[in-house]
């Protein structure tokens, strides 16, 4: 970095005349708070002023701007100003900045925080209501297309369907399996810890069996699938939207719902029960391993207790939710993807929304199922 002289201004007053001599480098890089105060120089009763810039080593628009502002301020105060020692380049610069001096509006003032809070609350509420309405619209559209397709099943695209089943189902096996197994372990350990106080260790099997089959298996699967596949659907369809691929499909007479949404929705609905079943098995296996390790319950005892304590309905109560959760996750994922506007950042925003919304809906639906099952006495 070249150590050029700092910008300085020397002021001398003589009766009613003011003389300002500038030295140093008046550039954007060198101007500091002191130099920036130049335009605020007080005329102090002077009638005439001399601004001498002959000794200035270098100048750019920032320096030219300060000089221009100084002259303007002094002239507004009724002082006659003469600028001395300017070269052609400096004169050109000062002329350029003078031409572009226009009053700018100040940045808009933010609202009163209380008002802003109410405004935000209101607009967020309206936003949620609109979102819900649009989602129901999209649900209707998807159902119509599905019904239409069920009369013409040959229009279904098997390659796309199987590819989505592989990606959302088969490829999810490791992560779903691992998490289910670990949750089975945790459930058994916590249950054993509490139940041992009553000498009722064997009921740990009931806890693990009912807990995993009815709730944990399917819920964990749904949450993992929402995070893994629901977000992927949004990102894939959203990227296609950004690339105008969706528009191209429409123009070519292809129905994006039929081509993009149906294979994803159907594919996920087909694999989700299988994933949930797999999750159930591994959850129970986790519980069994823990029971054997800490409770001295043998595998045989575990299985017999499971068979006695857990009715087959518990299993079905879990599995029956799988296609419905799958439908909701795929629907929300595709819907948010189609809502992407033509910018890259909206892909990210919609993907986040898709995951949050589908997990929220899955848990709300799960609560609904719990109430329904308790009313039905299952």
């Amino acid at each position: 970095m070249n150590e050029a002289a700092a910008p300085t201004a020397e002021t001398a007053r003589d009766g009613d005349s003011l003389s300002v001599t500038l030295h140093g480098t008046w550039t954007t890089a060198r101007i500091d708070r002191r130099a920036a105060a130049l335009p605020r120089i007080s005329p102090g009763g002077a009638r005439r002023a001399r601004l001498d810039i002959a000794a200035v080593e270098a100048i750019d628009t920032a320096g030219a701007w300060l000089i221009y502002r100084t002259i303007k301020r002094l002239r507004e105060a009724g002082v006659e100003v003469a600028l001395e020692g300017k070269g052609t380049i400096t004169a050109g610069l000062i002329e350029t900045v003078a031409r572009h001096d226009q009053p700018y509006p100040p940045p808009p003032k933010p609202d009163n925080p209380l008002v802003a809070l109410v405004l935000r609350l209101g607009s967020a509420t309206i936003e949620v209501a609109k979102e819900a309405r649009d989602l129901v619209n999209f649900l209707g559209l998807t159902l119509i297309v599905l019904t239409r397709l069920s009369f013409r099943p040959w229009r279904l695209r098997p390659v796309a369907l199987f590819s989505h089943m592989e990606r959302s189902g088969l490829n999810a096996l490791p992560i779903v399996g691992l998490i289910s197994f670990l949750v089975g372990v945790v459930l058994a350990y916590q249950g054993a810890d509490q139940l041992a106080r009553f000498g009722a260790q064997i009921f740990t099997v009931n806890l693990v069996g009912i807990g995993v089959l009815r709730e944990m298996g399917i819920l964990l699967t749904a949450i993992i699938v929402a995070g893994r596949s629901g977000s992927a659907y949004t990102a894939q369809i959203g990227t296609m939207k950004v690339n105008e691929e969706i528009d191209a499909m429409m123009v070519l007479g292809l129905d994006p719902v039929e081509i993009l949404v149906v294979p994803r929705v159907l594919g996920l609905m087909l694999v989700m029960p299988l994933l949930a079943f797999y999750s159930d098995i591994l959850g129970l296996a986790g519980g069994a391993v823990m029971a054997m390790a800490t409770l001295d319950i043998s595998l045989f005892q575990f299985v017999r207790q499971l068979n006695n304590a857990v009715p087959i309905w518990s299993f079905w109560a879990g599995i029956i939710k799988a296609p419905i959760f799958a439908f909701v996750i795929a629907l929300v994922g595709c819907y948010e993807g189609l809502k992407v506007s033509r910018s890259a950042e909206s892909v990210g925003r919609q993907t986040t929304r898709s995951v949050v919304e589908s997990i929220f809906l899955v848990i709300v639906l799960d609560a609904g199922f719990s109430i329904l099952f308790s009313v039905l006495g299952i």
């Binding site: 970095m1 550039t27 954007t28 890089a29 101007i31 500091d32 708070r33 920036a36 750019d60 628009t61 920032a62 701007w65 300060l66 502002r69 052609t88 380049i89 050109g92 610069l93 350029t96 900045v97 572009h100 001096d101 226009q102 009053p103 700018y104 509006p105 940045p107 808009p108 910018s343 950042e345």
Partner: protein, 275 residues
């Protein structure tokens, strides 16, 4: 403009490679202080790559790049910092920070690199926004609220924020309508003259080449041929012949002639505006 002026950028023997694909193989190029140099070439010949090498976003495999007489491959962090405030870069779509308003975008480099007090910083930003021909209201808008042409102007204002000595432009007129493109060319020419800039621009736009470029660097066969349009026309390379003498090239040349004639008629004398 002196012919033998000290080059502000000097590239020698530049080689860049992406995997097995060689983009440049021995590029030599000197950019003179105060000129507008246009870099042209067919699609995929590495025009943008060449620019990205100079501004340090891509490391070449071999060769030297000197900017302001410093070899950029030997610079340390402080050297890079000092160098980066002496040039401004306009990316293809402006590359404005989407979370900041236009005004804040222009202020961003000033905030990072200078000791200007906030009110003066704001004034300088407003001045730059006005210099690139944006209306005062644009300062408080976010990039997403601007049209493509306005985003480019705002990007140019940010590139000019630190009063750079060199301005790099990546396809400044791509995506603009012909009137907007001509206005942008005119803007660049005027800024270059009034601020004494050296401009390096990657472009496809023949009208820009005729209107404002002093010299042209043509990327061809992984090397560079430099010259004025007249001298390049005498080259035998079929690509250059097609480029300048094809229908679009001829049309641009005619437009340039008409504009020139108009200028002469208006000014009475030669176009001696460049001092």
């Amino acid at each position: 403009m002196a012919e033998d002026a000290e080059p502000i950028i000097r590239i020698a023997g530049l080689v860049t490679r992406f995997g097995p694909q060689t983009v440049h193989d021995g590029v030599d190029l000197a950019v003179r202080r105060g000129e507008i140099l246009g870099i042209v070439g067919g699609s995929g010949t590495g025009k943008s790559v060449l620019m990205r090498c100079i501004i340090g976003l891509i490391r070449p495999v071999a060769g030297t790049i000197e900017v302001f007489g410093q070899d950029i491959r030997k610079l340390d962090d402080a050297g890079w910092r000092a160098l980066r405030r002496r040039w401004g870069v306009l990316f293809q779509d402006g590359a404005l920070f989407s979370s900041l308003t236009v005004g804040q975008n222009v202020e961003a480099p000033l905030k990072e690199h200078t000791k200007l007090p906030p009110d003066l910083r704001r004034e300088i930003a407003d001045l730059k926004i006005s210099l690139v021909g944006l209306s005062p209201e644009a300062a408080n808008k976010y990039p997403s609220e601007l049209s493509g042409g306005m985003r480019k102007r705002a990007g140019l204002a940010r590139a000019l924020a630190l009063d750079p000595e060199i301005l790099f432009l990546d396809e400044p007129t791509a995506g603009l309508d012909p009137i907007g493109a001509a206005a942008f060319d005119d803007l660049i020419g005027r800024l270059q003259r009034s601020l004494g800039l050296t401009v390096v621009m990657v472009t496809h736009d023949l009208d820009s080449l005729y209107a404002i470029c002093d010299r042209i660097a043509v990327l061809i066969d992984k090397r560079v041929k430099v010259g004025t349009i007249e001298s390049l026309m005498r080259e035998e390379s079929p690509w250059i012949q097609d480029y300048f003498k094809g229908p679009r090239g001829r049309a641009a040349a005619q437009t340039a002639e008409r504009v020139e004639a108009g200028h002469r008629a208006l000014q009475g004398t030669d176009r001696g505006t460049k001092d």
